[in-house]
């Protein structure tokens, strides 16, 4: 009953109510507002650098969390557009050329990544939706390199068995690398008794993309 103090009305008016609403120890938010003022080149270079760092992490996979912590979908989009352009069938001569159209590759890529991610989440994995799509998209990078190699080999007029074997080996290596890289990032998010169940759809996804690459014989 003795803790309450009563101030005179005049005293209240003299107490200053100004000051900063900052909590000591937490970094202030002032830096984020300044990205509006920076030159466009800085913004683009920063994003490109982030994408490049992620590609580096995929190509030399260690169990790091760089891909997971800050996900972005620029890299997967670049890879998808590149692959769809390279893989689309030739529509100049006829309708039934047999190869997938640009839209079909696009759909396989994105719908495949979404379905595999949904599967991981339904099995109870503790990874967010976009993180998983990001990892799956970035890990297609070795297969894109295999596609470039195949395309270079296909420039030769005469396709011999040896060249086919080289293409096949390149695609197999790319497939193994992609699967290994995605396993390194995604394996810890599942309980051990369901790891195979979660990894198999990823294996199937990269297998289908590898098949699209190996069977693309551009004339």
């Amino acid at each position: 009953m003795s803790d309450v103090e009563f101030h005179e009305q005049g005293e209240l008016n003299d107490i200053s109510l100004e000051g900063e609403i900052t909590v000591p120890g937490v970094p202030s938010n002032k830096d984020e507002f300044s990205t509006l003022d920076e030159p466009v080149k800085d913004t683009i270079m920063r994003d490109l650098k982030a994408v490049g760092v992620k590609f580096w992490h995929v190509l030399y996979p260690k169990a790091s969390t760089a891909l997971l912590r800050e996900w972005d979908l620029w890299g997967p989009l670049i890879l998808c557009v590149f692959m769809a352009m390279m893989l689309q069938g030739d529509t100049l001569d006829r309708m039934h050329d047999g190869g997938p159209q640009f839209a079909e590759v696009f759909v396989i890529y994105w719908v495949g990544a979404v379905v595999v991610t949904l599967n991981t989440k339904l099995l109870g994995g503790n990874i967010s939706f976009f993180q998983s799509v990001c990892v799956l998209g970035y890990c297609v990078c070795p297969l894109s390199i295999a596609l470039i190699i195949c395309r270079c080999i296909l420039i030769a007029k005469v396709q011999t068995t040896v060249l086919f074997i080289i293409r096949f080996v390149a695609v197999v290596v790319g497939f193994g690398w992609s699967t290994f890289a995605s396993t390194a990032f995604l394996a810890e998010s599942q309980p051990p008794n369901r790891k195979v169940l979660a990894m198999y759809p990823i294996f199937l996804f990269y297998f289908v993309i590898s098949w699209l690459i190996i069977s693309h014989t551009h004339s």
Binding site: L122, N193, R194
Partner: protein, 369 residues
């Protein structure tokens, strides 16, 4: 007036602690607690199979629109999935597949990924069979990506529509076995698992081997299906039960036969005969071949035609332009320059229906002369 005395209020004055008279009133102390109030029991149950609790207690309360509703269909372990796949291929008369393997916990993981795998293995193996059958590497082979879309539609339709029909049939006959739609879906999905290795083996282009694979696959997994559904039907009249059981088996067999006929149907004499006559890269000795190849092969082609056209008439109708185009591509790609008469022959070949191939081939052999 004794009560008034009991209720007298004593003025304590605020200086000393008030003493409550314990002897007068009744003091009830709680010493025994009911089980639901203690936290220890709940923790013990959580250590066990929590998913069982979810299913038994809260199954009905999960809304259709929440994510957790769908998670309950994926509550399996690696071991269980492998056991279920193995069980779907082995029809053992006494052990009911549904009761033993699936009953407490039907899942959708296995069926869904089995169907996806089957779609891609069928499409890839179909393309591979096409490539291998068309001969060597001196022409450009183009793969047919649209096989994937067709395979996907066929397989997913089979996986969903047939269980819907079965569920409807069992409900109509008021079967007492109590199969839920999810369980029927699960059984049908796992029964497609045997077709995955079979579809890879179908690449080997030996006709009797392909058809024997069809029969073996349909018998094994169809057998499991029949044994699974028999308890639901045995209370019914004999005739109806037999009709439904045979319907299950026949549909399963028809699916396998459809795969072979659509994806792995290799038209034997048409393309090698025509490419041998028009492909200038082939050595001259092979020009004698068309006569030898045509005669014995005309008969199997004719016998194949009614068989091929009858059950899957619509598929082959759709197939015709595709394979026709492929034949034309094979011919066009193989040669940079061709004599005029061969171009005309191909045009007439295109215009003819598949059934009149014999006539066009005879025309070509005549012009060869």
């Amino acid at each position: 007036m004794s009560s008034k005395d009991d209720l007298q209020f004593h003025d304590s004055g605020g200086q000393e602690d008030v003493m409550f008279d314990r002897s007068g009133g009744q003091l009830h102390t709680f010493t025994s607690f009911p089980h639901s109030a203690v936290d220890m029991d709940d923790e013990e149950e959580e250590g066990g199979d929590k998913s069982q609790l979810l299913k038994e207690g809260e199954k009905k309360s999960l809304s259709f629109w929440t994510f957790e509703y769908y998670q309950q269909f994926f509550d399996v372990e690696t071991r269980e999935v492998f056991h279920r796949i193995a069980g779907s291929m082995m029809p053992i008369p006494n052990r009911n597949y549904l009761q033993q393997k699936i009953r407490p916990n039907p899942d959708l993981y296995g069926p869904f990924w089995i169907c996806m795998t089957l779609v891609f293995t069928t499409a890839i193996a179909g393309n591979l069979a096409n490539y291998l059958s068309a001969g060597g590497k001196d022409y450009q082979w183009r793969y047919d990506f649209h096989k994937v879309t067709f395979a996907a539609s066929a397989i997913f339709t089979y996986w969903w529509i047939i269980p819907a029909i079965m569920y409807g049939l069992l409900w109509w006959r008021k079967s007492q076995a109590g199969f839920t739609f999810l369980e029927i879906l699960c059984v049908y999905g796992y029964s497609l698992a045997i077709y995955i290795p079979i579809s890879i083996l179908w690449v080997i282009n030996v006709a009797w081997f392909k058809w024997s694979l069809v029969v073996v696959g349909a018998c094994l997994s169809g057998g499991v299906l029949v044994i699974t559904f028999w308890p639901a039907l045995k209370d019914d009249t004999k005739k109806i039960a037999l009709v439904i059981v045979s319907l299950i088996f026949v549909l399963h067999l028809a699916l396998a036969a459809g795969f072979v006929l659509y994806f792995f149907h290799v038209p034997p004499p048409v393309s090698p005969a025509v490419t041998n006559t028009t492909n200038t890269a082939v050595p001259l000795s092979s020009t004698g071949k068309p006569f030898a190849v045509d005669m014995p092969n005309m008969k199997p082609q004719e016998s194949n035609r009614p068989l091929a056209e009858k059950p899957q008439a619509s598929n082959l109708q759709a197939d015709k332009p595709g394979t026709k185009e492929k034949d034309v591509e094979i011919k066009l790609k193989g040669n940079a320059d061709k004599p005029e008469k061969d171009k005309k022959l191909e045009q007439t070949d295109n215009n003819n229906a598949r059934g009149t191939n014999v006539d066009s081939r005879s025309k070509m052999t005549q012009t060869e002369n």
